[in-house]
Symmetry: C2
Subunit: 321 residues, 2 copies
């Protein structure tokens, strides 16, 4: 390749490995890249990261919970933004292995940063990752973890907004859907706590409503509805809300006259139902903001881990509440 480009082997190596310590003219750089392309050369990321002592890989474990469309859009944005900063984002299926155990598997890939969605990782896992060379560990979840940067997603606030809205509408017996699907407790428990806090001292009562995401489960709950005596329900998110609202309507419950219904996530489909579904709109952080935070943490690995609130929540009242 050196011969084809008419330069020394060292120059080829500097250019292809993006060495920054050596000044190489732009025409030379272009000649080397052209020769590399002609010869079908592809650099070896692993070899390069061994030489550099670290990689440009940002590892994101795939979330251990059923992620909705909102999360997938957020993930796409983030990948794009990290890509623009010259990081390679790889998502890693953790396959049911949890937290600190999984951290060892992630560390094998020697990522320069790890971005962990959801709960599960503990201080021990953070230590394993840092010892293996990760310059930044960032968690995205309801609680900070020692040693890691924390992007706090305050799902309690989501429940609090929903509960306050229902109280303002004069509702006094409020059901809160708690999904039965595994892995969602970290999100549903704070939402429930938020509703309780919003209604605390108002004399209104809160009832937990376990619900699986299928029509049979919703029909069973709807059949029990008259006995529950509820005049409102916060249904965890829009998908559960759509499911439950339909089951209630089929069982003759009038929405919102008999029971007000509110979801969360502000999915477009919620606007297609009649009555239109009220919801809590959740503002996720922008991919660009988050990418810049990761980049800063990588550049200054000595900085003390910080904690940032990243979730905005506001009620979008429509016709169902």
């Amino acid at each position: 390749m050196a011969r084809l480009a008419g330069v020394s082997r060292a120059t080829v190596s500097y250019v292809l490995n993006k060495a920054t310590a050596v000044r190489i003219s732009e025409p030379t750089r272009r000649r080397v890249h052209a020769a590399a392309k002609e010869l079908g050369y592809v650099p070896h990321a692993a070899a390069r990261s061994l030489r550099a002592g670290h990689s440009r890989v940002v590892l994101m474990p795939a979330p251990g919970f059923p992620a909705g469309p909102l999360y997938h859009r957020f993930l796409g944005d983030l990948q794009l933004a990290l890509g623009r900063l010259d990081y390679t984002v790889v998502q890693y299926g953790s396959m049911g292995v949890d937290g600190d155990e999984a951290a060892r598997a992630w560390a094998e890939l020697r990522p320069v940063a790890v971005l962990v969605p959801g709960p599960g990782l503990g201080p021990q896992g953070v230590t394993v990752l840092k010892r293996s060379g990760a310059r930044a560990v960032v968690t995205l979840g309801p609680r900070p973890v020692e040693g890691a940067h924390a992007l706090l997603m305050d799902f309690e606030a989501v429940g609090h907004r929903a509960g306050s809205h229902l109280a303002e509408r004069g509702r006094r017996r409020v059901g809160v859907v708690v999904p039965e699907e595994e892995g969602l407790a970290a999100f549903s428990a704070p939402r429930l706590a938020g509703v309780r806090r919003a209604l605390h001292g108002t004399g209104a009562a809160v009832t937990e409503l376990p619900l699986a995401y299928d029509e049979e489960s919703a029909a069973r709950l709807a059949a029990r509805w008259p006995g529950l005596g509820l005049d409102a329900v916060f249904a965890y998110n829009d998908e559960y809300a759509m499911l439950l609202m339909r089951a209630l309507q089929d069982a003759g419950v009038r929405i919102p006259a008999d029971t007000a219904v509110i979801g969360a996530d502000d999915l477009m489909l919620g606007r297609l139902l009649r009555p239109r579904l009220s919801t809590v709109h959740i503002d996720l952080p922008s991919g660009r903001e988050l990418a810049e935070l990761v980049d800063r943490a990588v550049r200054s690995p000595g900085t003390a881990p910080g904690t940032h609130e990243v979730l905005g929540a506001r009620v979008v009242p429509r016709d169902s509440s």
Copy 2:
């Protein structure tokens, strides 16, 4: 670590690198792993793959199209199944770079296999990947690519089933929704062709209906509806069908009396609408089958690439058609 485990350094290396050529007793193996754990040792995947000449990484580029819930479930299954076969699945955001250009970026990670969802990769990209050491390249899409194993997803059949169903119901002027969102043409064009084939020779007419996935676009299309003179519509998938059906109902079009509506994907939410949405149910291959196919291809890299049909499609008639 050798001292802590009371074994030679060579033995430590054999155990931690999972060398299979050397017989090591189970107690010794356990002692080495215990010592490694105590010392917080994490193997280096890149170094190991350099030694082995290949990795256990199966790379899956993230799809360049807005993937729906059906695809995400399929992906989760596949990751789980490949994990059970001791592969590490990494998903890679391709960030707008297409096909053969992207293949060079994927090759840098030296994956042992690459599983490409959707179209875009050409024979040149396959060559780059194989030259970089990938033992198997598998494409998941509407057409086979030279040099790669092909899992053919026959979306033409999805359109054909929908078209036949509408013809059987006596519909003669059939609209076919073509999403305006980028990256979906590879899926929508064969569906449209399938409807045309189903209606060929029946005297029925097919009208293409460009539609963006938002309420304004749907309302505009619904406002033009009387002038279009359509008595049926195949709406690409259930999400577009739910959007369009609501807009048509709001514009006073009776479903199915004036216009029959059918979607595709069999999403649960389609059953929640009134009338219940008819749909084409799509059977994706199971994650286990696909993982075993990848594994066979990796073990026998010399085998000629094969082509497998992996999509089943059948109409689920409900009340909207």
